[in-house]
Structure formats: structure tokens, C-alpha cells
């Protein structure tokens, strides 16, 4: 039963999945095109050019992928309400827990797959950056990983809010909109709230914490709502 549910979800979310794959390809293509035009990069060795391109493309693709995860999460549940197939599924012996687990597995698989792809790209470029100037204090490497974590937290927030909105709403486009807009509002909310309460912690730390908390709350609340909901 679980395999059939996964097949159905893959087929149902074909467009967001194609969009996710296309975004990865487009991100890499744009970076390759941009660097091929840069005379400074072109003047370097092949190894340096390759490492620079892979690294930049991985970071760019990782950033873009977070939007595609928001789109997928927002589409996962609500799209079945749009065409009323959620009602058909409700009459079958598939429990709501199993139905939701299949959707969660698909979202997690796509998120992990994309993250691993980008992480591998970044690690490969760091390992092979033998003729690149080494950072003296290690700050640069740390900054790279903080950037990666921030982007991931942004995506987690978008996916969590998308999941929640998709579990609650009957329109997948509204759910996707919420998923895309909410994490983008967090930095503004962070700056404003820090000014109001007059605190001076690292703004980035607060922002990442807020993204993670919102994402987690979205997943938990959405799951709770879906399990108790009646599709009629």
C-alpha cells in the first residue's frame, strides 16, 4: 500500500518535482555561463575554474532549491483537495497516518537528495581547491557552512509552513504562496523585534533559530491538523 501511495504522490506532484530538477539544472547553467564570461576566472587553471564553478553553482542551486521545496510542500496535501481525490482516498482503507507518511517520505527524500547533491558539490570543490589561496584563520570555511546552514534553515521554514498550509487549506496555490512568503518575512520580523526589545545578539543566529522554530511548528501543527481532519 505504501509504495502505491508514494507512486501516487510522485505522479500527483510531477510538476513541482520537474520544477525542482529544472531549477538545479538552470542554477548550474547560469553559473557556468556567468563564469565563462568572467576573464579573471578564465585566466586561472582548469582545476581552479572547475572548483569555482562547482562551488558557486552548488550554493546557488541550494538556495534556489529551497523555493522548490516550498512549492512541493505546499502542493503535497492541498492538491488532492483541489481535484477532490482526497475524498476518494478517505474512503479507502489507507489510514490518514499512512497517507501523510507517504507524503512526508517524498518531501524528505527530495529535500535530502537536493541537500546531498549540493553538499557533495561543495565538499568536492573544497577538497580539490588545492591551488586556491588557503584561508589563514579558517573563518572563510566557517562562513561557508554558516551560509549553507542558513539557506537550509530558510528552506526548512518554507517547507514547514507549506506543509501546514497544505494540510489546512483547500487550495494548493494559496499554500504555496504562504510557503514562499513566510520565510522571506522572517528577517524583517527579526530586525524589528530585536529593535523593539533592544537586544543585541547575533541577528543571523536569531533569524536561523526563527526559521527552524517556524518550520518545526509548521510540520507538527500541520500533521496534527491533517490527522484529525475529515475530507468531506
Amino acid at each position: 500500500m505504501f509504495r502505491a501511495l508514494i507512486w501516487k504522490d510522485v505522479r500527483l506532484n510531477r510538476l513541482p518535482l520537474i520544477f525542482a530538477a529544472a531549477m538545479v539544472v538552470v542554477s548550474y547553467a547560469v553559473v557556468v555561463f556567468q563564469f565563462s564570461m568572467d576573464p579573471v576566472v578564465k585566466a586561472g587553471t582548469w582545476n581552479r575554474v572547475l572548483v569555482t564553478i562547482i562551488f558557486a553553482a552548488s550554493v546557488a542551486s541550494h538556495a534556489v532549491s529551497q523555493f522548490t521545496l516550498s512549492v512541493l510542500a505546499g502542493n503535497l496535501v492541498a492538491s488532492e483537495r483541489v481535484d477532490r481525490s482526497a475524498e476518494f482516498l478517505a474512503y479507502t482503507p489507507a489510514s490518514r497516518g499512512t497517507i501523510l507518511r507517504a507524503k512526508a517520505v517524498l518531501l524528505a527524500a527530495v529535500a535530502l537528495g537536493l541537500m546531498l547533491l549540493h553538499l557533495c558539490g561543495m565538499l568536492i570543490s573544497l577538497v580539490f581547491a588545492t591551488d586556491m589561496p588557503k584561508p589563514t584563520t579558517g573563518t572563510s570555511t566557517a562562513t561557508i557552512w554558516i551560509l549553507f546552514a542558513s539557506i537550509t534553515a530558510y528552506g526548512f521554514c518554507g517547507a514547514g509552513i507549506g506543509w501546514l498550509a497544505s494540510c489546512i487549506l483547500s487550495s494548493n496555490s494559496s499554500a504555496v504562496l504562504f510557503a514562499i512568503v513566510t520565510p522571506a518575512l522572517v528577517p524583517i520580523a527579526t530586525i524589528l523585534s530585536m529593535q523593539v526589545i533592544d537586544r543585541h545578539e547575533s541577528e543571523q543566529t536569531v533569524r536561523v533559530a526563527a526559521w527552524c522554530a517556524l518550520g518545526l511548528a509548521g510540520f507538527l501543527w500541520g500533521t496534527k491538523h491533517y490527522l484529525g481532519r475529515v475530507e468531506t
Binding site: A4, L12, D83, S85, F88, Y91, P93, A94, S95, T232
Partner: protein, 302 residues
């Protein structure tokens, strides 16, 4: 004593500010086809959805094949086939894909039966559900509902809006399902004609309450209309307590009585100013209408 396939005990379902079913108790025996009748908003669909475990009753309990539906919803649904009024299968799937998908959902799926039903209904396997007519969609839903050989079949007005030929097809299939291992069929319908052709029993509900539950033969035998002629300028004095609905039009006094027996006629004539009275047989449709009218307004005087 064997457990009845469907048992509702004192089931009440409240929505926000509205009571859909009110202390409803029903017991459907094995080997029966029950027609669930009621006007729009009577609580039929709510009742069926509670039987499927999709809605949780506010109070009371429902058991299907001896299992509580609230705590065993998915397990119970393995044994139930369901066809709603407007079946929403996956519109992007082909008929074949729907069948394959359903085959992995139901443990007791019978592929040969599914193929047989597809052939019988002349459903094109490669046609996308979205492109099927309503009648074809109902047929596809019936294939899904019957191919796992359900012990209980629940049909929520599946024949509304279908042409007579498609309805005949569906009725023939349902009759053959009844002959197989389906223990109980519950058919909610506005088409009393279809209920007459399929059901052995009827349950009439109104405003969430059960008005009557009986075999069709018993109902026809025990529900009669008495048509009496009143004496000039006189009104009835002592109507029969079993009257479910009565209508007074000048001197003509007609009343539908359930349960009725012949001895009541003498009592009626003795206690009321009437010159003559006769007993009229009623059809299921007339009984249904009179019971609903009676529940809404017991006496109508012109």
C-alpha cells in the same frame, strides 16, 4: 446469536449548531439490502460517513461486522465497498491505473473480478478518469468498490443523475453482488423505484431521527391509508393514535396509519362522525411521502 453486519446504537452527530443525527439506532441483518430513505438534509450521508468511520459520532457507537468503526476505521474499510453520489477518483489516472492503485490498497483484491467488471461495464482501461462521463465514473467507482469482494457495500445515491440504461446496468451488478459474498448492502437513494427493485428493507429517516425500519413487505402490509367521509359540518373527534399523517379536505378525511390492523376501522367508525370509511393500499413512495409529511406537520386541514 450472530453479530449483525451493521449496528448503530444511539448515534448522535452534532455539527456546529446543527444536529445531523439524533439518537439513531439501526441494525441491519446479514443477507439484506437496505434502502435508506429520507429527504435532503435528513442525515443519510452523515449516517453513511459515520458507518465508514470518516465522521466520529458525538455520542453512541457504530460497529461494522462486529468491529467498532471509530477505533478500527482502516481495518473496517478493508471490508466495505463505497460508492458516493459523485465519485471523485484521481482525475489524472486512467481507469487501469485506478484499478492498479486500488489493488494495492485492498488486501482482498480480486484481479479477475476487476477485469470481469471492467468488461461488463465496457470501461476503456486507457481512458483518463477526467474524460469519463458521470455514469462511467460511477461504474469505475463500482469496480473499485466491488473488486475486493466487500462484505458490506455502502452506496450513497449513486444513481442520481444517471440515464435509465446506466441505472439498469448498475442495478443488475448490485443484484449479482448481493448473490455473492456481500453480507449487507445499504443504498441511500431518492429514487424510490430503485430502492423497490433492490432492497428488502427500508429505513426512513427525517431530521436525523429514524421514523421506521422494516422489511418492504411488512411496511406495505402494515401501513394503510384510511379514507373516510365526515358527516356534514363535523370534524374528527378521536383520530387513531397510530396515524402518521392525516389530511382533511372538506368532508374527506384521509389518514395514513402505521401500524394498521383491520380492527382499527371499527374503532374509528365508532369514535368519529363518519358516514363511510375504506382502506387503501399504499406504495413505498406514498408511505415515504406521508411519513415525511407527517413528521413535518402531522395534520393538514384545507
Amino acid at each position: 446469536m450472530t453479530t449483525p453486519p451493521i449496528q448503530l446504537v444511539d448515534v448522535t452527530k452534532d455539527f456546529k449548531g446543527h444536529r445531523a443525527t439524533d439518537s439513531l439506532s439501526l441494525e441491519f441483518k446479514s443477507g439484506t439490502t437496505v434502502g435508506l430513505l429520507g429527504p435532503n438534509g435528513a442525515g443519510k450521508t452523515t449516517c453513511l460517513k459515520m458507518m465508514l468511520g470518516l465522521l466520529r459520532p458525538t455520542s453512541g457507537s457504530i460497529s461494522i461486522l462486529g468491529q467498532d468503526v471509530v477505533s478500527n476505521g482502516p481495518k473496517v474499510r478493508q471490508k466495505i465497498g463505497y460508492v458516493p453520489e459523485d465519485p471523485w477518483l484521481y482525475p489524472w489516472m486512467t481507469v487501469q491505473q485506478v484499478v492498479r492503485f486500488a489493488s494495492s490498497i485492498y488486501e482482498s483484491w480480486d484481479a479477475a473480478r476487476a477485469t470481469e467488471l471492467l468488461g461488463q461495464f465496457e470501461l476503456p482501461p486507457d481512458r483518463i478518469i477526467k474524460k469519463l462521463s458521470k455514469g462511467m465514473r460511477v461504474k469505475a467507482a463500482l469496480v473499485v468498490a466491488l473488486a475486493h469482494r466487500p462484505q458490506v457495500l455502502v452506496l450513497d445515491e449513486p444513481m442520481s443523475g444517471l440515464d435509465p440504461l446506466v441505472r439498469d446496468d448498475l442495478i443488475a451488478t448490485l443484484l449479482s453482488a448481493r448473490a455473492e459474498n456481500t453480507e449487507c448492502i445499504v443504498l441511500s437513494s431518492h429514487q424510490i423505484d430503485d430502492v423497490n427493485r433492490l432492497a428488502d428493507e427500508v429505513a426512513i429517516i427525517h431530521a436525523g431521527k429514524l421514523l421506521v425500519h422494516s422489511s418492504i413487505d411488512d411496511l406495505l402490509g402494515s401501513t394503510k391509508r384510511v379514507e373516510a367521509v365526515l358527516l356534514d359540518g363535523r370534524l374528527p373527534e378521536k383520530p387513531l393514535p397510530q396515524t402518521v399523517w392525516q389530511n382533511i379536505d372538506r368532508r374527506n378525511w384521509s389518514m395514513t396509519v402505521h401500524p394498521f390492523d383491520e380492527t382499527m376501522l371499527a374503532a374509528l367508525q365508532a369514535n368519529n362522525p363518519i358516514s363511510s370509511a375504506r382502506i387503501v393500499d399504499l406504495s413505498v413512495e406514498q408511505i415515504f411521502k406521508d411519513m415525511i409529511r407527517g413528521a413535518m406537520s402531522p395534520c393538514f386541514v384545507h
